[in-house]
């Protein structure tokens, strides 16, 4: 068995199918040498795997964000280097987004939100695009309403997380603090200490208020209105309910003077998720009724 054979278990099949093994081998060899700064000829398999994943991630980044100067036919090392530069650019943009999120906090925050904002600078301090561009060297737990896709890695993940957080914050900042506080106390009881998303109940309540024709800033609906809105959505055909919901979201965002394609899509997706849940709950109730 050779070292190359020992390396095979760490070489993802997809990469092996696309790139020349010789070129990957040479680049990995060079990265290991750089990583150990010539102090060691060998590294643990886990380190070699992380370095290899970093190389493959940067090659993939270069495909998704092609560099003008580096064509797809360029040598592997040039394409990898262009990918590293792309990762660094994404990290820079993520940092700007972080500063923006920091400047525009929601009217009310909870422990998970504060902990996450405190944890994120560690990412920018420790992110190493040259060796481990695919990694996220920090841990945070604030749950977004629409989570970041697990397929995103490294700075891409953080950038998308912050973009979503910024959208959620913009939405919440358009609402009165007192109304939010009352809503959270009804919805979560202990919103400050629970690991909960702050945007979700507000976005759902705004959508329902708009559907009921009530002022969205109130973030509250009398029980009978809530029941009638739910009935309206569950008794309508799927397409009609969908249209009603999206129209309501549009009206709500207009009333809140909120714009921006991403925020609109984000809020519409949240409203669609609510619709799915309401209709599923209604169907389950019907089935229970038939059963009993």
């Amino acid at each position: 068995m050779t070292t190359n054979e020992a390396l095979l278990p760490i070489l993802p099949e997809a990469a092996a199918a696309v790139e020349q093994p010789e070129a990957i081998y040479a680049l990995l060899e060079e990265r290991i040498r750089r990583f150990t700064m010539g102090d060691s000829t060998s590294v643990p398999v886990e380190t070699a795997r992380r370095l290899l994943e970093g190389i493959l991630y940067c090659l993939d980044l270069n495909i998704r964000f092609p560099s003008v100067e580096v064509p797809a036919t360029a040598p592997l090392k040039d394409r990898w280097q262009a990918g590293v530069s792309a990762a660094k650019r994404i990290s820079q943009r993520a940092k700007l987004l972080y500063l923006q999120v920091q400047r525009t906090p929601p009217p009310l925050v909870n422990t998970a939100y504060c902990d996450t904002m405190e944890a994120l600078p560690a990412f920018f301090a420790a992110y190493d695009a040259d060796f481990f561009a695919q990694e996220i060297p920090c841990s945070f737990d604030y749950p977004l309403c629409q989570p970041v896709s697990d397929s995103l890695l490294g700075a891409e993940y953080i950038k998308d997380f912050l973009r979503r957080l910024l959208a959620e914050n913009s939405f919440l900042r358009a609402l009165p603090r007192e109304a939010l506080l009352a809503l959270y106390e009804r919805f979560y009881v202990d919103y400050a200490d629970l690991l909960v998303n702050l945007y979700l109940p507000a976005a759902e309540m705004v959508s329902l208020c708009a559907l009921a024709g009530e002022p969205v800033f109130a973030l509250s609906l009398p029980q009978e209105k809530l029941v009638s809105v739910s009935r309206l959505l569950t008794l309508s055909g799927e397409q009609e309910a969908h249209k009603r919901m999206l129209d309501a979201v549009e009206r709500a965002l207009l009333a809140l003077s909120l714009r921006g394609d991403f925020l609109v899509r984000y809020t519409m997706q949240t409203a669609e998720d609510l619709l799915v849940r309401l209709r599923a709950a209604s169907r389950a109730k019907e089935t229970d009724g038939e059963g009993s």
């Binding site: 050779t2 093994p21 010789e22 060899e29 290991i32 060691s40 060998s42 643990p44 398999v45 380190t47």
Partner: protein, 158 residues
């Protein structure tokens, strides 16, 4: 096509490793030590096995040449044991690389192993049977080896 490329890569790596050993032979020959072609093949196998067993990856230049060169002027290394001792030292080297958590450079580790080896009259057991702490402590403090060495069977259990 892909398989052929991988095969040629494997061959190239094997050739490169044997070339390194031939280079080491030129130096060790001055001290009356040489690896036969068969011995080099055996050492190549032993090195790969050690890398796999200790969960390490080594591409390009191997540490084996540095180990051979680091030990070849030891007065306790004899031609008749050379191939076997070198194989055992290579295995111990990769074991200690893991044990030290990448805190020692290749050269530092080889030097520490060599000092241990010589201090115990060329005993490979003294090298492989010691703990990393004892190995490094002895090196740092210039400690008396007879006092510092306690049989450590953690390596044997691996």
């Amino acid at each position: 096509m892909k398989q052929a490329e991988e095969y040629s890569l494997t061959l190239r790596i094997q050739q490169q490793f044997l070339e390194e050993l031939r280079g080491a032979n030129e130096i060790s020959a001055r001290f009356g030590l040489q690896l036969s072609e068969q011995g080099m093949q055996e050492l190549a196998k032993a090195r790969t096995q050690a890398l796999v067993e200790h969960g390490r990856v080594e591409l390009g230049v191997s540490a084996v040449r540095a180990i051979a060169e680091g030990f070849c002027d030891s007065p306790f290394l004899l031609q008749e044991d050379y191939e076997v001792v070198l194989s055992e030292l290579v295995d111990a080297f990769y074991y200690f690389k893991n044990a030290c958590g990448e805190q020692l450079t290749d050269d530092e580790l080889i030097q520490a192993m060599r000092e241990r080896f010589d201090a115990f009259d060329g005993s490979v057991e003294a090298v492989v049977g010691t703990s990393l702490e004892a190995l490094c402590r002895a090196r740092r403090l210039g400690q008396d080896y007879d006092e510092g060495w306690e049989e450590d069977d953690s390596y044997d259990d691996e």
